[in-house]
Symmetry: C2
Amino acid sequence: MTISPLAPASFPDLPVIDGVTFAAAQAGVKYKNRTDVMLALLDAGTAIAGVFTRSATRSAPVLDCQTKLGGDPTGPAAILVNSGNSNAFTGGAGVASVAAVTSAVSSETGVPETRVFTASTGVIGEPLPHDRIVAKIAELKAGQSADGLADAAKAIMTTDTFPKGSATEIEVGGEKVRIAGIAKGSGMIAPDMATMLVYIFTDAKIDQSALQAIVSERNDQTFNCITVDSDTSTSDSLIVAATGKSGVDVTGNADFAEAVHSVMLDLAHQVVRDGEGATKFVTVSVEGAQTDADARRVALSIANSPLVKTAVAGEDANWGRVVMAIGKSGAVADRDRISIRFGDITVAQNGWRAPDYSEEATSAYMKNAELEIGVDLGIGAGSSTVWTCDLTHGYISINADYRS
Amino acid sequence: MTISPLAPASFPDLPVIDGVTFAAAQAGVKYKNRTDVMLALLDAGTAIAGVFTRSATRSAPVLDCQTKLGGDPTGPAAILVNSGNSNAFTGGAGVASVAAVTSAVSSETGVPETRVFTASTGVIGEPLPHDRIVAKIAELKAGQSADGLADAAKAIMTTDTFPKGSATEIEVGGEKVRIAGIAKGSGMIAPDMATMLVYIFTDAKIDQSALQAIVSERNDQTFNCITVDSDTSTSDSLIVAATGKSGVDVTGNADFAEAVHSVMLDLAHQVVRDGEGATKFVTVSVEGAQTDADARRVALSIANSPLVKTAVAGEDANWGRVVMAIGKSGAVADRDRISIRFGDITVAQNGWRAPDYSEEATSAYMKNAELEIGVDLGIGAGSSTVWTCDLTHGYISINADYRS
């Protein structure tokens, strides 16, 4: 598979996070000759927060994780993820598969079953051959390594063309706190609660409820602000684990929340950059709306519009389609107060084409790989930013053939 | 342009509707070597009903028509439509263009300006060169013909690959009443109030408010139940004109309402059959929902899902994507009560793959050009049916290049 032209130049150096180790293995769930299962083991006392899809048809692993969040954090914990099969819409067999994997991890590692979090990503509706995963758990236990996070990022890929990682560190009272995370996701991206699979680790010390509050708030500004194709996965899961091993208490520390936010946003952008068939990364910024909710409605209407996305693919400065997407959004708008810009070029204002509009200059701008579509509704203070990609022949090729 | 493989075998024979005449001309608004403007002239006493897009950025002609509906029906009336430019988001100049065209039609034909209904379809945001239309009005007046409706259907096409017409007749008390209509539409099809441009004519006698009631009610079951690409036009307009020339009063006649419905549904289906790049015509039927509104939510979520539509394009029996679309719809659903069928083949039931599911039989079914996706949510009596097409490379080709 060709790597997305929007991919970062290289996978980042991820720091070791004290208190967590990783391993990846080839279980052959669906893919051959590549890793497809990863196991992370977390020391006792790790606080685990998460958000999950709100889909009414969410997968068995998601339902299982949701019951476990916020439980007693005194024991060790584990995260096991497979790619190639999502174990979604698999009825009682799906529940049994989660139980089988969870039980095997617990037996092999001593982690209590209530602290084993699993996720599955891939085709929907086919029974998960969980025996293949169970057979690899001893190998995954034996292969644990503190610097195995990059391998884990590769094991959870499906239609992704590159592994996604991000890290940062901050100083709190002269002491370092490290944050590192991985994500997968490329299609079926319109997160409702979280996106696809995201795992972030930190050695910060923070209690579960404080961590959960940060994750839920920042999720609304990062993963819930991206869309590739308006389709919402049945498996979206974001888990943030704080091992506390740095000994630095970050409860109430604004820098820590910002640092978590920056890693989440970086990973969210990487998911868009790997949008199926994507050749353009598009920031849609809306301001001047009556409310933030209205601004978000307009931004998503633009970011999800097939006609806007195909125009971007064709490098066509077709701002009329942006007008259309504003109009259909359901947000309060006054046609004659709307202004639209592509990058720094104002293309429309006061309900009409800008007086000094230049087709030539705007068309030249559209050739960039990174674009911004800005809208000012001119009636209030509401604002919202979302990120998306274009809609190309590549998306059709991937999805008219791939059984995902 | 290749004609859609889903096009009807031929354009239907449309009956002459007493009380209305038509002509088409080449004004060169944008297209060359084809007709791009049509004028219909209606006798005094014609009742005119209509529905229009609810887009917040609707076009100048739509805003003008909305103020004129329901006015004094005693004088004659006119409908003038151009293709190639939608006169949407054109500010004060757009309003002036409508006024110029309306005034010229009134001067040439004697129809009061308050009874001249115009529409424009094509690129958004460019000033309408209305002088080119005004210059053709004398020719359009001179060329009026009672059997010119088929020519009018061709003149209003944009990315359409075939002209769309439909007709029926009923007997009321031994007297014939005729109904004939035309439509255009291929992309930017997710009607919110009506769709694209539709004109239906009848010689029935009925007052305006009774006609409007029929049109509004049936619109919700026809044009508002189709989607090509989830994008809503700024120009959607449906006008139904009853000349009364048959002398047959159809007020309160259920057969007449059904006959209007059948013409509307036929035209709506033809718009889907000419969906940009379409190779499959898909009926999505949802039942067992808590409410009709919930059923519609699920049906549109499936019909608008890029992943469902690309799977259909690839003839892939990927019912897992239908599960995903149900899950994201926001409708109340109980995963374990959902059943899904492709045609007569039950593919999933009780929250899992059907026990006798056959990939081979389902894949064979997907090769048909006409498909049905059926969903039973199993929790109530709400139902809804919508119609859509697949999402193909053809859609990308048309929209990454065409400035519409």
